[in-house]
Symmetry: C2
Subunit: 297 residues, 2 copies
């Protein structure tokens, strides 16, 4: 099986490395060609997306936004190269509706499309321990499951768009839980408790979470260099609430959390880690109000 | 060291069992005397709280509410029995202000008081794996740390009231995280995703929490028999927000979550597990609105 991989960025590069080490034949394409040529000698570098699609059984994309995926894949001359039996997997994080639109367009060409965003970040990409959430035709998922397993743990979520939906569910829990931890630590601090001891005690009970562990520590140490940036978490919260809205759903805690991220970004902290949500809640309480644009860490 | 233990209920009974197995000499008191007499032959049963306080070096309480602790311990003839060097540990979950009041009253008698609530429930009490959050004079904590270690993992949080404050921080994170998980699962379900697969995928990433693991499963299976009851979680949320208010703190996510628990209890689901918060969010969205008083499990 010949695999085409489009998007050799922070995530794509270690993913390509893992596929090469598993012995797969790869064809690469990247807008900045040099990033693809990092692998020259070990993988072929395609002259165009069209050429890549024409010659690969499986096409994988790992790109910044849904619009970039659309521009590259739904471009008329590229789309025309997709043929029956071919599988397309978009591993970027994009809105579910856009994933369904791309899947429908490829379906008309007889190709099968999966949306398969990941969580775990660059660390997970390097360790091949990504959590991979796949939506689309189950037959296509089974066909390429073993390949995805070289990148992490793939799981089948349901029809087109549900991979992206699971990713949004993930981001929503992450955002709201960061808020939950920030409020609890503020309360404990205001009453004079030793925050390091509180965090340790709470990790031993029902309040345990990876967020309390990692982001709780960041809050206590006020270590807000990113990590995942606040502006990206705000973009995710917007995507979550847009999707909820289109499904006719009211999600009060996610909406409240989006409001707090807006305040954080408006105060000039868009470049800090998403655990800096603590600053927005402090700001509401007029505690340690930081100067606009000043990083407190 | 002679230990007096007051409150031989669901939590107190296995705690007494663990102290007896560690070889300590115990004196017990319980309003319903039969519950203390369960241990007769292995521990002494006191005729009154006064008698217990008079004859023990360390007095532990594990009771329902702060008012019960006050009634029993601050009663004039009981309080008069406390003497310098004696240690009092209240392991009940009560408001921090009440804990500070009790500590001050005992301090006037020369005794040292700790507030040391626990998390981990009856399972943790039986397994001696409770997370114990202690506030009060550090010297008193060090004096009895080894005894508390027979019940779980004791940690020192800071001055009087901070043990209770840490417990409130715990309950706040639990409540808000339940809301975060409920909203995310509702979103995933509305878009047609397989919830069991979503939960499994999310447990592998940053959205991981003990709440997603245990309460998320309850939500998917709609298995809402308690566990910890919704009305107790609402009581906790009220205590959290009252404490925040007295500290001049605005906690928007905790306040929003309290509102959802109010709706749940008002809809007649006060006896269900706190993971039933899902029903309140469904109610807001007019999904599966359950009949008043009807249990959906």
């Amino acid at each position: 099986m010949r695999i085409g991989f489009i998007g050799i960025g922070l995530m794509g590069r270690p993913m390509v490395e893992n596929l090469l080490q598993a012995g797969y034949e790869l064809v690469l394409w990247n807008r900045t060609r040099a990033k693809a040529e990092h692998f020259s000698g070990r993988a072929q570098v395609a002259g165009s997306v069209r050429e890549l699609v024409k010659t690969c059984d499986l096409v994988i994309t790992m790109l910044e936004t849904g619009d970039v995926v659309e521009q590259l894949i739904l471009e008329e001359s590229v789309l025309a190269e997709f043929s029956p039996g071919q599988v397309f997997v978009d591993m970027s994080s994009i809105p579910p509706a856009q994933a369904r639109k791309i899947a429908a367009a490829l379906g008309e060409r007889g190709a099968e499309a999966l949306d398969a965003p990941v969580s775990g970040g660059t660390v997970g990409a390097e360790a091949a321990s990504l959590s991979i959430m796949a939506g689309g035709p189950e037959s296509a998922f089974r066909k390429i499951e073993a390949i995805l397993a070289r990148l992490g743990t793939p799981r089948y979520m349901g029809p087109s768009g549900t991979g992206q939906l699971a990713k949004l569910a993930n981001q929503s829990i992450v955002g709201v839980t960061i808020g939950a931890v920030a409020e609890a630590l503020l309360l404990a601090r205001a009453g004079g408790a030793d925050l390091a001891a509180v965090r340790e005690a709470l990790l031993g009970g029902f309040a345990q979470s990876r967020i309390l562990d990692l982001h709780g520590l960041r809050m206590i140490e006020r270590a807000f260099e990113p990590g995942a940036r606040s502006r990206v978490q705000l973009k995710d919260m917007n995507m979550i609430l847009a999707e909820a809205d289109s499904l006719g759903l009211d999600l009060p805690l996610a909406a409240q959390t989006r409001g707090l991220y807006r305040e954080l970004v408006q105060a000039g902290f868009e470049g800090l880690d998403h655990s800096a949500l603590l600053l927005a809640i402090e700001g509401r309480n007029q505690l340690d109000i930081p100067e606009e644009g000043e990083t407190p860490c």
